[in-house]
């Protein structure tokens, strides 16, 4: 299938009501889950600034808190989880954690688009895609249903699908890659400017994955979105994003431009993770798994650095003090060892 856009088609799809891409500022966000052991933090005071118009990857292993962070942006953390403190400021919306009821519903869909993991679980198996689209329109008080269907069709065609056919289909008649594109269409059709994709390519085949990633990148550019891509697969994030936030144990441990984070990772976790990726070229003996295993809610240390158990650069201070995220050039890193080497380097510069 060819998805090369004809000139100007991007403007056409953007449609009316398109506003500018919003920025996101997460401040000291702590989300806890109630367990028999008490309330345990899935996010431990996360601060993250997403610049408008960027496409940011949030990568982490299971239990890193990446999905909880993504859901917090929609104010959709569900029981037994609860936002304990912090704020999520989104341009044009204010603090989404303060929104409730109708305002919140308006925000989701109109401003925030969410593409769920493996869209097969998020589509209603009993209704055609078109009916679900109209439901979405009705719940958001869209008056011109025809225009909505037209926009949806255009979006689907932009992604290389037969729009009319897809709208008339039930989910079981669509392949995994097609469903994922339907998910993207539903997230964008109300002109959301901030789009969050949760594991958009998990369970898809390699070639389909490459197609979806290309579409994500193109749509992001054409519609001038702010896009967040949540994934466990650092390769997927590397392929499409311009910024990368690496999460571990409920914290963002490193954040910066993708090329820099991958090319010269600072945090020992990022470094280890990149070395642990099976790759197509290079010496297989050089690749090494990280020792130990990722922490779960129950095994997360209550004080000190969350990564210290697996860290080759561990120091005494790591046992007791949780490292603060500090910015250095374009990069934000939360690590005592990196902090120390940065400050000595600066010292030498001024010496």
């Amino acid at each position: 299938m060819t998805t090369t856009a004809s000139p100007g088609s991007g403007d056409l799809v953007a449609g009316p009501g398109a506003s500018t891409a919003p920025g996101v500022r997460v401040r000291d966000l702590t989300v806890v889950y109630k367990t028999p052991l008490g309330e345990l933090p899935a996010l431990g005071g996360v601060s993250l600034t997403i610049e408008p118009g960027t496409i940011t990857g949030i990568v982490g292993e299971s239990g890193s808190g990446k999905s909880t962070l993504a859901l917090s942006l929609l104010n959709a953390v569900q029981s037994p989880g609860r936002v304990k403190s912090g704020s999520v400021e989104i341009d044009g919306l204010g603090d989404v954690l303060e929104l409730a009821g109708n305002d919140l519903r308006e925000a989701r869909g109109r401003h925030l688009g969410y593409v769920f993991q493996a869209a097969q679980n998020s589509l209603n198996p009993l209704k055609t895609v078109g009916k679900q689209l109209l439901d979405l329109g009705r719940s958001h008080g869209v008056e011109d249903q025809r225009a909505l269907v037209r926009d949806a069709k255009e979006l689907l065609e932009r992604m290389g699908l037969d729009g009319a056919r897809v709208l008339d289909s039930h989910q079981h008649e669509l392949s995994g890659g097609m469903r994922q594109r339907v998910g993207i269409m539903l997230a964008l059709v109300l002109n959301a400017q901030l789009v969050i994709l949760d594991e958009p390519t998990t369970a898809l085949d390699m070639i389909t994955q490459a197609t979806i990633l290309r579409i994500v990148r193109e749509v992001h550019k054409e519609r001038g979105l702010t896009t967040l891509l949540v994934t466990h697969d650092i390769g997927v994030a590397a392929e499409v994003t311009d910024h990368l936030a690496v999460m571990y144990g409920g914290r963002v441990v490193e954040h910066g431009p993708t090329m820099q984070v991958l090319g010269s990772p600072s945090h020992p976790y990022t470094r280890g993770l990149i070395r642990a990726i099976p790759r197509l070229s290079g010496d297989t003996a050089e690749a090494q798994a990280l020792p130990g295993r990722p922490p779960t809610l129950g095994t997360l240390p209550t004080r000190g650095c969350v990564f210290r158990e697996r860290c080759p650069l561990r120091m005494d201070i790591c046992e007791t003090v949780d490292p603060l995220p500090l910015s250095h050039d374009d990069r934000i890193v939360a690590c005592h060892a990196v902090e120390r080497s940065n400050s000595t380097a600066e010292h030498e510069e001024y010496a």
Partner: protein
């Protein structure tokens, strides 16, 4: 050594609203796995790699063809007589979360097959416990920690190790690892791959590695062979490193081109191949199975089915009328 010739398998689907449709899972596949060797089957979902793995492990029947294990053709034996042969081949499931009985401790899980084994070989009961500990140490976990625990108390990586230890209880000659690392956290994936490599080297077991992630196949060990399957046909075969660095079939090239590039570390390969359309199983079977999606197809491809033939190197085979080496995999970025 295990060889297969002309293995075919068709799944018949009963008629429903959409009409009856037969799915040809395997269309005459040949393979050979040496003792202590490492063979990888690569392909997308529906290419037949899992079916083939299950057939080799004796868990699935096949319609035609022959499997020969250590010189004995399986067609010459009655079903019950085949069992000792297939016991030498143990399957490691994809999902370590569902492969272990949640109501049994790891000790109980290992004890059952080991007791049977002790009876067969006339060993004492004490051997069972010793062997359980030995196997757990062999797969790199502390027996004292896991033996008394239940599967839900262990991480995915540990469970997968337990599954491997359980497979080793019957002293297999071959392990069939079907997507065995895809559900393991990225930071620990390599350690499971290293374990399989290590078992190959230390115990001489051969490994049949089934995956959609070609890069992982490189880590199973040296001299590994790669079979690329597409819609039930082997379209390319050769040494893993040779096929990855110089793929000649356009499907292999598409598959390798689709692997994400780690920008900042790598640059995309200069000749990446993108299929002209998405996979549609309903494509007519007239010519080459990949023809409809192939950017390099000619008229001949639509009429005639290419068979697996020798390429430039003796050990590198392909099923394509227009084979050409292309460099599609990412290259190291120069800093």
């Amino acid at each position: 050594m295990i060889t297969g010739t002309g293995i075919t398998k068709t799944y018949k689907q009963r008629g429903n609203v959409l009409g009856a449709r037969d799915v040809q899972a395997l269309r005459g596949v040949d393979f050979a796995i040496e003792n202590g060797g490492a063979v990888s089957f690569i392909g997308e979902s529906g290419c037949g790699k899992t079916t083939l793995g299950r057939i080799i492990a004796g868990l699935e029947t096949y319609d035609s063809g022959e499997i020969v294990i250590d010189g004995t053709p399986m067609s010459s034996l009655r079903h019950r007589r085949r069992q000792p042969y297939f016991r030498k081949i143990q399957l490691i499931h994809q999902d370590p979360y569902s492969a272990l009985n949640p109501t049994r401790t790891i000790h109980q899980t290992l004890q059952a097959p080991l007791t049977l084994r002790a009876r067969q070989t006339g060993r004492s009961k004490g051997w069972v416990d010793d062997r359980a500990e030995e196997l757990l140490s062999l797969v790199g976990i502390d027996p004292g920690y896991v033996l008394g625990r239940y599967p839900h108390q262990l991480s995915g990586g540990m469970r997968q190790r337990v599954v491997i230890a359980r497979a080793l209880t019957v002293d297999p000659e071959m392990l069939v690892a079907d997507e065995s690392v895809s559900m393991i956290d990225v930071s620990m994936r390599l350690s499971i791959l290293a374990l399989l490599k290590d078992l190959r080297e230390r115990l001489g077991v051969s490994v049949l590695f089934i995956t959609h992630d070609i890069a992982t196949a490189r880590y199973i060990g040296d001299e590994g062979e790669l079979y690329v399957l597409y819609r039930g046909q082997v379209v390319e075969r050769g040494l893993t490193e040779t096929v990855i660095s110089g793929p000649t079939h356009p499907y292999t090239q598409s598959l390798l081109s689709a692997i994400p590039v780690l920008h900042g570390l790598e640059q995309p390969g200069p000749e990446r191949v993108v299929p002209t359309e998405a996979l549609d199983e309903r494509h007519a079977d007239g010519g080459c199975l990949f023809a409809r999606r192939c950017p390099f197809r000619t008229e001949r491809c639509e009429i005639e089915l290419p068979s697996l033939v020798r390429g430039a190197e003796a050990s590198h085979e392909h099923a394509c009328f227009h084979p050409q080496r292309r460099s599609v995999i990412p290259v190291e970025a120069v800093a």
